[in-house]
Symmetry: C2
Subunit: 228 residues, 2 copies
DNA sequence: CCAGCGCCTTGACTTAAGTCAAAAAAGCGT
DNA sequence: ACGCTTTTTTGACTTAAGTCAAGGCGCTGG
């Protein structure tokens, strides 16, 4: 297990804080260990703080009335989540559950707000985090409403390629079922589209490894939003 | 034209600031007057500040490769927009255009960041604004991916009913074409669904006035996401 | 090595919603 | 009130993607 102070100082949210400020942050943090599949909070739950993933993986998701699930984010080490109700409204806007055995840091609301009030750079960091989220949501909404599923998948593959720094092959770090939910579709549809992309020599799927045979073709598809 | 200081002190973003702080805010604001249909900024434009609507109406929207438009927000007096790149990334994530002749206040990036650093309550207000936006986006994504168009329309009508404080009738303050774009669909589809809702005695459309004949039916539809 | 289980794929079918085209209705300035 | 534009509606048709059901693949553990 990494030292807590190390985890905190590695998190982008606390970037550029002084040793002393980092220690203040550490003081208010509370450890929380969760097994795989543990629900951390549910939409509409009252919130008294937010979390940072120290280790493991967490999904943030919405569920429809019929029980269909749409994954909004999957967060790994260093990522904060559940901050929205700290600053507005008090209730979580979505659900959170661990995908792996995880170690979380919990930051109580009032203590954290105090800290922010005293540290302008922490406030600016948090504004940066929320702004990045808004940017990502903007892209997600664009994808959902202006692109078809093949375009969304292509966007995701291009994103993975940048994320993983490779132009030849990418590795999915989630199951295809979860990927379908992240793209706003269902496993059957995703599977059919992967098959089509194989046929068109855009990619070559080898389980969770996807060989990018035509990256510029994928970029095109991500841009235009339609297959063929 | 309302006095600028009045506009500023009425905006939620500057809620609870002292007289002196409000004056500081005023000092850095720059007036901008726009005709109807004026593009304020385009996605990917470099940003050197954000805006608040003093008077008029502004749409924030994305455009697909084929030119199809999806409206993300429509903002009226008191609403800030274009804040994301002030705190992260520097480029606007979407486009902004006036829907009416409008009066905007522009806040230059560096001066505003200075102000925030000195005023913790301003920082917290801004965190609140961004958090509310994230909450709204979460709902939008839920609507787009987990509900069908009738469900989204019902949600919007219920929202309008709360907004306007009436349970009997609501008034659209945008055209049906714009509403279609806001709901992530096209005018033809929206028109057909309005007709269906009329037939099912959920509503009665009278131009831009919509009589809510069965509000609990609409709430049901908004929840379940399917018509019939 | 095989059984059993979850994950993924495939097939046949249904359906919500988009496209294209045209008509009807509503605004708007003169 | 008139002619003009813009917005909204309607109809016929196409299509992307969802549903339901069955089968295959690849694990892990006995």
């Amino acid at each position: 297990m990494k030292k807590i102070l190390q985890i905190i100082s590695d998190a982008p949210l606390f970037n550029g804080l002084s040793e002393e400020q980092l220690n203040d942050v550490r003081q208010i943090s509370v450890d929380k260990f969760c097994d795989k599949g543990k629900t951390i909070f549910l939409e509409e739950d009252d919130c008294n703080g937010f979390y940072i993933v120290a280790d493991g993986k967490v999904k943030i998701y919405k569920v429809s009335f019929e029980g269909k699930e749409h994954i909004l984010h999957i967060y790994g080490p260093g990522n904060p989540f559940g901050e929205v109700p700290v600053f507005a409204g008090r209730k979580f806007p979505a659900n959170a559950q661990t995908l792996l055995k995880s170690h979380l840091l919990f930051f109580p609301r009032t203590a954290f707000v105090d800290l922010i009030s005293k540290n302008p750079s922490l406030a600016l960091n948090m504004l940066g985090v929320l702004s990045m989220r808004l940017r990502q949501f903007t892209v997600q909404i664009e994808n959902l409403s202006l692109k078809e599923v093949p375009g969304r998948l292509a966007s995701y593959l291009v994103y993975l390629s940048q994320e993983q720094g490779r132009t030849d092959v990418v590795t999915l770090n989630i199951s295809k079922g979860q990927l379908a939910s992240l793209l706003g579709t269902i496993p059957e549809t995703l599977s059919r589209i992967l098959t089509k992309m194989n046929q068109q020599h855009l990619i070559d799927t080898r389980g969770r490894n996807i060989i990018l045979k035509d990256l510029s073709g994928l970029e095109d598809l991500a841009e235009h939003g339609k297959l063929q």
